[in-house]
Structure formats: C-alpha cells, structure tokens
Symmetry: C2
Subunit: 256 residues, 2 copies
Amino acid sequence: MSSRSPSVAQPHNSPEVPAGPLASRPLYLQARDLLLRRIVDGTWKPGGYLPSEPQLALDLGVSIGTIRKAMEDLVGQGLLERQHGRGTQVVPHSSDRSRFRFLRFVHGDGRPLRPVAHVLAAATARADARDRAALGLGAGAKVLVLLRTRSEDGVPLIYERIALPAEPFAALNAEPGTDMLEEIYVLYQARCGQTVARARDTIATDRASPAIAEALGCPPETPLLLVCRVAVALTGAPIEYRQSWTAALAYRSDLD
Amino acid sequence: MSSRSPSVAQPHNSPEVPAGPLASRPLYLQARDLLLRRIVDGTWKPGGYLPSEPQLALDLGVSIGTIRKAMEDLVGQGLLERQHGRGTQVVPHSSDRSRFRFLRFVHGDGRPLRPVAHVLAAATARADARDRAALGLGAGAKVLVLLRTRSEDGVPLIYERIALPAEPFAALNAEPGTDMLEEIYVLYQARCGQTVARARDTIATDRASPAIAEALGCPPETPLLLVCRVAVALTGAPIEYRQSWTAALAYRSDLD
DNA sequence: GAGTGGTCTAGACCACCCA
DNA sequence: GGGTGGTCTAGACCACTCA
C-alpha cells in the first residue's frame, strides 16, 4: 500500500504510471477534503463522533499520521474538536460556543453582551442590489428577509436585517413576534442543513432611519455603528448577508 | 536520548527520576518556547533564517518531527515563514505584508487603502487613565504620544493618537512635520526592538473634536468611526494603545 | 548536486475517558 | 481494562532552491 494511489482518490493505478494530473495532490489534503465532504453531506452530524483514527486510516488506506494531519487542519478551521480519550467530534454551533469568537458586540465598557433576539418581520422578497452582490445571486433571485432586534434586559440594543437565499432557507420558519432563543446559526444548521464556516465583517458608521430609530428608541439620524456581515457555508458559497445597527455598543476582535 | 530529559529543558537527569515538576511538559512546547525566546532576544533577527531542521534537532536533542511541530505552531502565529528548499525565516513586519491582515481600513466601496502617515506631534507625557489601563502602567508612568494623520492622494482620512510606554520607545525618533514612509510596526522593531505579536481592536462611534475636525477637514461633531487598538509584544506585554478616527472609511475583517 | 523543507509511514509509549 | 487521542521517534522518498 505504499504506492501512491490509496483509496482516498484513485481506485488503484498501475505503479508505473508517473501519477495522473491530480494524483500528486498530497494524501492528507485528499483525506481532509473527504472528511470535509462527509461533514457537509451529513454522514457525521454536528455533535456526532467520527470513527477513530486507526479506523479511518484503515478505511482510507493511509497511515494514522496522515489522518491526523488532515484532522488538524479541520480542527484549526473550528470544524472538528478532539477530546483526549473520547474521540473526535463535529463541532456544533451552540449559543455558548460559537465559531465566531473573533468579532462580537460588547458594551462600551467592554462587558460581553448576552442579547435575546426578537423577530419583527420575516418575508420572502426580491433581492435588492446589495443582497445580490453579497450573496452572489442573479437578477430576479428571491431572499428571505428577517428583521429583528436584539435586546438585553428588555432594552433593544441592536437592529438587524438578515437576507438569506430563499431556496435553502425556506424551512427556517421564523415567526414574526416570537423570540429566538437559539443562536441563529444553530437554526440554520438544524432546520436548513446550512453550516456557517466563516464570515467577513465590514464596520462603518450610519444614521438611524425612522424604522431603526423606532426600534432602538433613539431619535432619527442618530449616528450608529453598522456592521455588515457576509457569512459563507462550508462549501464556500455565501449564505447570509446581515446588517446590524447599534447606538450603544462597540464591536471587538478577540485577542487571540 | 530517548529518556525524557533532552537538552531543551533539563541538562540531563538520571533516568530513574520520574520526571521533575515541569519535566512532563511536552517536548515540542519546550522547543517552541526556546525558539520563541531566541526570536524575542534577537538571536535570529526578523528577516533572518533559522538553522535547518536537522541542525536544530541535533542542538536541542530531539527528533526532527518534534522540531517541526514546534515550528508549525510559530508559523501559525505568523512569526515564522517556511520556504520549501530555502529555509525557515523570522517574519519581518513589512509595509506590504503585515501580520495584521485580519482587520484593516478600506474605502466605503471595499477598495483597500494605501495611506501615507504624517506626524503632527510627538511628545512624552504623563499617561492618562485610559493609557494606563490599556498598557498596564502605574500611576505616574510616562508615555510617548504620537499624533498623526494618514492620507491618500493628499486627503487626510484617518486621525490617530498612539500612546507607547516611554522607556522602550525612547529611540523611536518620530519628528513632527515629517512623513512616515514605513509601516510603524517596522519602526518599532527596527529602532526599538519591539515586535508586535497580535492586537485587539474595539470599534465604536465617536464625534469629531475640534482638533480632529481640523485635521480631517470636517465639521466638529461629525460622526466618526473610532478604532481602539491594544497591541501586545511577543512577551505578551501591551506596548501600543492606538485610537484611530475616520469619517469616510470602513473597517473590515478578512475572510479567512 | 548539495541542502532544505514537504510528505508519508510504522511503531512505541503515555494520558485520559468510560464502563 | 480496553479504546481513544497525544507525544515522540526514525527513516524513506520527493520537490524545491541555489550555486
């Protein structure tokens, strides 16, 4: 099995062939992609455990060291979590332990925020130009638009507009007037099978529109912080365009 | 050499001793810290090359695999850069390739910024309360305060106040009225021997003070984006507290 | 062609979790 | 006690860089 054609990529070429066009791709990358594919397609569910290293090594026809290197990559991306003595788990999005620790809202004095989300509206609509640009959609595409506030101790601190591609998110079932107790990325995953892999945030200033002013209880034209986020799925496709407005909060990158 | 006391940590204990209080710390972590120490103390200068893996393995009395694991950690932190066939280099801060690719100013339309910095003032002063809190200084401590603007095509876009602990930065030699052609972290490193390892940014809104309004050419009380950064050295000690105000720009996290 | 890092393997031993 | 991941080693072969 030490010829360069393990079951990871090719069925089994003859040893003389100097390796096909893609055969030279490192085994651990092939293994990583295969693991990733099985996470994406749900073979291993979020919260579930992978087979053990020796088992995977046997299955893929590579050595344990190669499996470990593939896993380390996925652990670094925050997709897998290894627990000594227990096994390797597909990381679930959870309210407490989101993959997005690096950028978050905080109070002006640095205290972390524990907001509750309240859905103001949820409707399917034609995507506007910015939605289409952010989500890579065509001209007539439809999006599911959520408007919500996020409050702490009953005080609305953040006003959010979230645009999602209509098709994969039809099952989201966000009811206007209800509170969302779960972190929304948990819902994407549980109800729509969409796992957010990473996100890019752009932060700017804006002024309160009448609707935002009413929702946040501030005068119109109040200067606000506006955070625009594009979140992408494991496949690399953008799946969320989110705008968050806040008057009282700051936004922070974690130190390491 | 397969007993648990390589030259990395202990000189050479007798094999029977069940390992000292710290002896159980994994070898690759000990090796990593030793490499880090030599980077910090300047044994290997930024831009310079480390000895080869076999050489280091021999020096530290561990296997190449252990050295590699230590290096991978430092590569992940952005301190080392490996080049196939050439060697392993201590990453220098450079104008083009800063270690802080993850958060940066951009134009409103997303174009990257290429600003030139102009020093307005540079003076040693008593640290104010926020400086002391950010830099972990005591009551009477002194800081070097730089005021500067950053312009593109002659248009001032960012106003900055930078506070640095007076002692290690006495050699900075920033002359009021001059332009800083180098990325400032290059100067910290070259003139003061201070290497910035990472930073935490907090982003909020503010309004233009008279001084800022004049520097940026906007009316007083204009709403601004305010980015506060605390940068820490390789040792973990905070060495820079920076406030950046801008009216026209956005701030962005890189995707990945 | 000599030297460097990159990939891959095989196997030993340890530390942790759980039944 | 059996299984899991964590550390560590030794060595083979490949790919890249530079003289």
